[in-house]
C-alpha cells in the first residue's frame, strides 16, 4: 500500500496521474520547474515542490532533485509518467536504493528492453520475428556501411538506446549513407549521451501496431488488445486508434498472444507496450518494447473501460491483477489526436500564452490537457498540449464525432496542428482504414501543394 506518491512529470500526464491518485485516496506530491509554477498539476496535488530551473536537465531530468523531493516530502512511491525519467535504468536503481517504490517494471526489464539490440536478440532467441538487421551496435561509419550493404538498401538507422524517434534515419542509397550515419550519431549523442546505432532493413508500407500489456508481481500477465499508430510525422506518433482498422482477427490474435509471451519471458510486472510492424503481406516483426505508460493509452481505456493507470499503480503496490483475460473486451472504437502547439506547415514549435481556449465535450469526448486561458506554453518542453480522444460504437461514428469535436476545439494565442487532423479525417485512405506509415508524408506533401 502506498500512502503518498510523487509525480515526476508535468503537463497533461502529471494531471492525469494526480487525478487517479486522488480517486484512489492517495496523497500526491507535484514537482515543478521554475517556469511551471502556475500549471494545474502544481495546484491539484496535495503538496508541490520546486526542483529546479526551466531546462529539463535542471529539473524533470534531474535525478538527484527528484529523489530528494520524494525524500523530503516522505513520498513512498514515484510515478514517472512518460518521457523524462520513465525508462531511465539508473533512476530506477536510485529509487530502489533509496527505498522508494518506482511505479513501473523491474530494473531488469527496463535494462533489457531499453537496449534495443539486446531486446532484438532476446526476441530472436525466443522465436519472435525481428526485422533483418545488425546483431550488434555500431559506432564506426565504415563498419556500418558494410553492414548496410549486407542488409541491402533501403535501410533504417536507429539508436541502441532509442526512443522518441531520435537518431532514426531512412537511407535509400549508399551514396548518402555516411552523412546520414554521422548526423544520426550526433543527434543520439545529444539525446542519450551515447552514439551507438544499429541498422534494420527498411520495410515499406508497414503498419505500426502495438499491444498493451499489464503484468503483476505474481507472474500474471494480460493484454488489452491493439492500437494502430501508423500516422507518424518524423517517427513521432500523431494520431492513434483502437482497435486497429483493417486488421485480420487471426493476426490480431497472434500479435496479442506473442505480446503476452514476451511479457511472460520478461516476468513483466507493470504496464508496457509491445510494438510491431506489420507488412503488406501481413507478416509481423517485433520493433521494440516501451516499459512505461504511453501517451496513447487513453484509446485503449476508452474501448476496454479500464483505467490503465490505476491498474498500474495497484500492480506496483503488490496487488494481484483484478482482471483476467476473459473480462477484457473491446467495445466500439476510439481515436486520439495529439494536439501540439506547432506551426504544422513549417513543423516548428509555437510557444506562447493561450489567450483563450474552448474545450469540446459531450458523450464519448475526452480532452486530456493542462491548458486553460492564460496558460503559458514553455519552449523548454515537448509541444504536446492536449490529447483529444473520441469514442463511439464503431469507427465510422467515431470519425464523425471527431470531426465535430475538432470543429469545436478552439485554442487562441498559439498555433496548433488542429487543422491537420481536420484534413486527415477527410482523406479517403484514412476513412478506409488501410493507411500505413507512409501515409503522413505523402498526405503532408499534398496538403502543402494545395495550400
Amino acid at each position: 500500500m502506498f500512502y503518498k506518491v510523487l509525480v515526476a512529470n508535468r503537463g497533461e500526464i502529471a494531471l492525469r496521474i494526480i487525478r487517479t491518485l486522488r480517486e484512489m485516496g492517495l496523497k500526491s506530491v507535484a514537482v515543478y520547474s521554475l517556469v511551471d509554477k502556475e500549471l494545474p498539476h502544481v495546484r491539484l496535488a496535495d503538496e508541490a515542490i520546486c526542483i529546479g530551473a526551466g531546462p529539463a536537465k535542471d529539473s524533470y531530468l534531474n535525478e538527484k532533485a527528484v529523489i530528494t523531493a520524494a525524500e523530503v516530502t516522505d513520498a513512498d512511491a514515484i510515478h514517472p509518467g512518460y518521457g523524462f525519467l520513465a525508462e531511465n535504468a539508473r533512476f530506477r536503481e536510485i529509487c530502489q536504493s533509496a527505498g522508494i517504490h518506482f511505479i513501473g517494471p523491474s530494473l531488469r526489464s527496463i535494462r533489457l528492453m531499453g537496449n534495443k539490440i539486446k531486446a532484438r536478440a532476446i526476441m530472436k532467441r525466443r522465436g519472435v520475428p525481428v526485422i533483418d538487421g545488425s546483431e550488434r551496435g555500431i559506432k564506426d561509419p565504415a563498419v556500418a556501411f558494410d553492414e548496410a550493404v549486407r542488409v541491402g538498401f533501403p535501410v533504417m538507422l536507429k539508436a541502441s538506446l532509442g526512443g522518441g524517434g531520435k537518431g532514426m534515419r531512412l537511407v535509400h542509397s549508399p551514396h548518402n549513407f555516411t552523412n546520414a550515419f554521422l548526423s544520426a550519431q550526433a543527434e543520439v549523442k545529444a539525446a542519450f549521451g551515447d552514439n551507438e546505432l544499429y541498422i534494420e532493413k527498411y520495410i515499406k508500407d508497414g503498419r505500426h501496431i502495438e499491444v498493451q500489456l499489464l503484468g503483476d508481481l505474481f507472474g500474471n500477465i494480460v493484454h488489452f488488445f491493439d492500437r494502430n499508430c501508423s500516422i507518424q510525422s518524423s517517427y513521432q506518433k500523431v494520431l492513434e486508434e483502437a482497435p486497429s482498422p483493417n486488421l485480420l482477427d487471426k493476426l490480431r490474435g497472434v500479435l496479442c498472444k506473442t505480446a503476452v509471451k514476451i511479457g511472460s519471458v520478461l516476468k513483466y510486472s507493470s504496464l508496457g507496450t509491445i510494438e510491431f510492424l506489420v507488412d503488406k503481406n501481413n507478416k509481423f516483426y517485433f520493433i521494440e518494447m516501451n516499459t512505461r505508460i504511453q501517451v496513447e493509452h487513453p484509446v485503449t481505456e476508452m474501448v476496454t473501460g479500464v483505467d490503465l493507470l490505476k491498474e498500474q499503480i495497484l500492480a506496483a503496490m503488490g496487488k494481484p491483477l483484478r482482471l483476467n483475460q476473459n473480462n477484457i473486451n473491446v467495445q466500439g472504437h476510439a481515436i486520439e489526436c495529439r494536439i501540439n502547439a506547432v506551426n504544422w506547415e513549417k513543423m516548428i514549435p509555437s510557444p506562447g500564452v493561450v489567450s483563450k481556449i474552448h474545450i469540446p465535450g459531450g458523450l464519448g469526448i475526452r480532452f486530456d490537457t493542462y491548458l486553460s486561458s492564460g496558460t503559458e506554453i514553455s519552449s523548454y518542453y515537448d509541444s504536446l498540449v492536449g490529447k483529444l480522444i473520441v469514442s463511439a460504437c464503431n469507427r465510422e461514428d467515431a470519425i464523425k464525432k471527431l470531426r465535430v469535436a475538432l470543429d469545436e476545439l478552439d485554442i487562441y494565442g498559439v498555433l496548433t496542428n488542429k487543422e491537420l487532423f481536420t484534413r486527415i479525417i477527410k482523406e479517403k485512405e484514412f476513412i478506409e482504414g488501410g493507411y500505413d506509415t507512409g501515409f503522413f508524408k505523402s498526405f503532408r506533401c499534398r496538403c502543402l501543394g494545395k495550400a
Partner: protein, 166 residues
C-alpha cells in the same frame, strides 16, 4: 471614615491614563510627543511608519505549518513584501535546510551577522549528501526565512540580506 485611596491604586490609575494616551498617539502619524504634569515628564519618539513596517517585517518568523508543509510556506514567502533594497539567498537545490553542520555545534550564521562573499551560511541535505551553501553576496543578515530541518524547494528564499557597501 472617609475612604482614602491607597497610593498603589492611585499610581495604577495614573499609569492607565498614560497608557491610553500613548495608545492614541501610536494610532496617529505623530513621531514625537512630550508631556509634563505634576512634575512628571514623558517624552515619546517614534520611527517613521516606513521604518516601523520594515521592523515588523524583519521580525516575522515563518509559521509552523503541519498539514501541507510546502505550498502555504511558498505562498507566504511569495506574498510577503521584501523591501527592494534587500536581497535574498535562495536555495540552489531541493533538500532539507540545516543551519548547522551537526545538532550539537553552533549555527553557521545568525541574524545580525555580517556575511562575506563565499561564507558558508547553511547546509542543504540532498540524497544523504550535506551540501554546504555559500553566500554569493556580502551583507548583513536581516532575517532567516526557513526553519531548521524543514524541506526547501529550488529557489526558496532562505536568508534576507541587507547589502553592506564598504
Amino acid at each position: 471614615m472617609k475612604e482614602e485611596k491607597k497610593p498603589a491604586e492611585e499610581e495604577k490609575q495614573s499609569l492607565d491614563g498614560l497608557l491610553s494616551l500613548l495608545k492614541w498617539v501610536i494610532s496617529t502619524d505623530i513621531t514625537e510627543f512630550s508631556l509634563e504634569r505634576d512634575g512628571e515628564k514623558v517624552h515619546l519618539k517614534r520611527s517613521s511608519q516606513e521604518q516601523r513596517l520594515q521592523k515588523t517585517l524583519n521580525t516575522i518568523k515563518e509559521p509552523v505549518v503541519i498539514a501541507s508543509p510546502l505550498e502555504p510556506r511558498e505562498a507566504l514567502i511569495k506574498n510577503r513584501p521584501i523591501s527592494k533594497s534587500m536581497l535574498t539567498i535562495d536555495a540552489p537545490m531541493v533538500g532539507t535546510f540545516y543551519r548547522a553542520s551537526a545538532p550539537e555545534v553552533d549555527q553557521y550564521v545568525n541574524v545580525g551577522d555580517i556575511l562575506k562573499k563565499g561564507q558558508i551560511v547553511c547546509i542543504i541535505e540532498a540524497m544523504k549528501i550535506m551540501n554546504e551553501i555559500e553566500s554569493e553576496i556580502a551583507g548583513r543578515i536581516v532575517s532567516i526565512l526557513q526553519e531548521n530541518g524543514k524541506p526547501v524547494g529550488f529557489g526558496t528564499p532562505l536568508f534576507e540580506i541587507e547589502p553592506v557597501t564598504s
